[in-house]
Symmetry: C2
Subunit: 189 residues, 2 copies
């Protein structure tokens, strides 16, 4: 599957190096710590430190289980920003300013000393979703979806017909696939 | 595969609830923050907050890819304590007092809107490895391996013939399967 075609799905594109990612967090008057920094057009600067956020779940949809042409032929390792995880633990809901990052990791192989299976290889890009009433008042659930073209300083907002439609139809809670995130389910009050 | 048989492999047993896990971190004179609390016999109290540590990689070895009898028929989601991750980023090595936790998560299904694959279900137990010159001077590499019987307050150290032998033979660096942990590889100096 071409990178271009893959980008059509959820705007995911590989990043050359982890070091190219660049985001900072910011504090707000309320005292709640927010994560994510935005352009004037409300596009998310490429997240950098998400690997030290809270991992919520992983799945794999390899090519060889999808007639050689998986939409996302990688592991999906999904993270939520720590401030929104704290809010989730108290309320069981996604706060305004929630940032969720999906990192794609290639399949390295199918055999290891622990048995046959799928084993991760290298980073292959990220995608993100951000919930904000202020920034995205007209988007369903106030969620915007971002793809990150290779080497881009910030993400590109995806059309509702791409990511959002599938998330709205199939995700268990507020466009988030909580059915695949045992960490969220276990932490829900 | 029976839970008992599974326990023979790496001492892994399911924990009834996340809430039963119980560990605190401790500061030391050097100022380095350590994670893990130990019994008088140097057995690790069951880690509790590891889901907010640093996730380093996931793999899956399902039953249906292992003649119905996988040694670990689950997703393995692996975490390192944050203090040891900081040390790794500076040195590319595992410090004394490194704690690595492997959480097992069952396979929920093989189909989703994003394609065919393996998708996570529920928590199914943890295992851990701890490196300590002081606590485990006679173990290879000073690593001890722990299984956590269901509901146990602390882990049980596993014989070298169980986990350690395989880790020594197959792991890429210092008994840790860094070949399967893209986060560690990317963060190595």
């Amino acid at each position: 599957m071409s990178k271009f075609k893959k980008a059509l799905f959820c705007g995911i594109a590989p990043l050359l190096m982890a070091g190219m990612l660049s985001v900072t967090s910011q504090a707000v008057a309320s005292g709640e710590r927010l994560y994510g920094r935005f352009t004037q057009d409300n596009e998310l600067y490429t997240p950098r430190n998400y690997r030290e956020w809270v991992f919520i779940g992983s799945s794999v949809t390899p090519n060889d289980m999808n007639d050689g042409a998986a939409a996302f032929p990688e592991f999906h390792n999904v993270y939520i920003d720590p401030g929104s995880f704290e809010y989730w633990k108290k309320t069981g809901e996604f706060r305004n300013n929630t940032v969720i990052v999906k990192e794609l990791v290639s399949v390295r192989g199918k055999e290891s000393p622990s048995g046959n299976g799928y084993f991760p290889g290298e980073f292959n890009g990220i995608a993100a979703m951000v919930k904000s009433e202020k920034r995205y008042p007209d988007r369903p659930g106030n969620w915007a979806y971002f793809g990150f073209p290779e080497g881009a300083r910030h993400g590109a907002i995806q059309e509702d017909s791409a990511c959002s439609a599938c998330h709205q139809e199939h995700a268990a809670q507020d466009q988030v696939f909580t059915q695949g995130y045992p960490v969220l389910r276990a932490a829900k009050p």
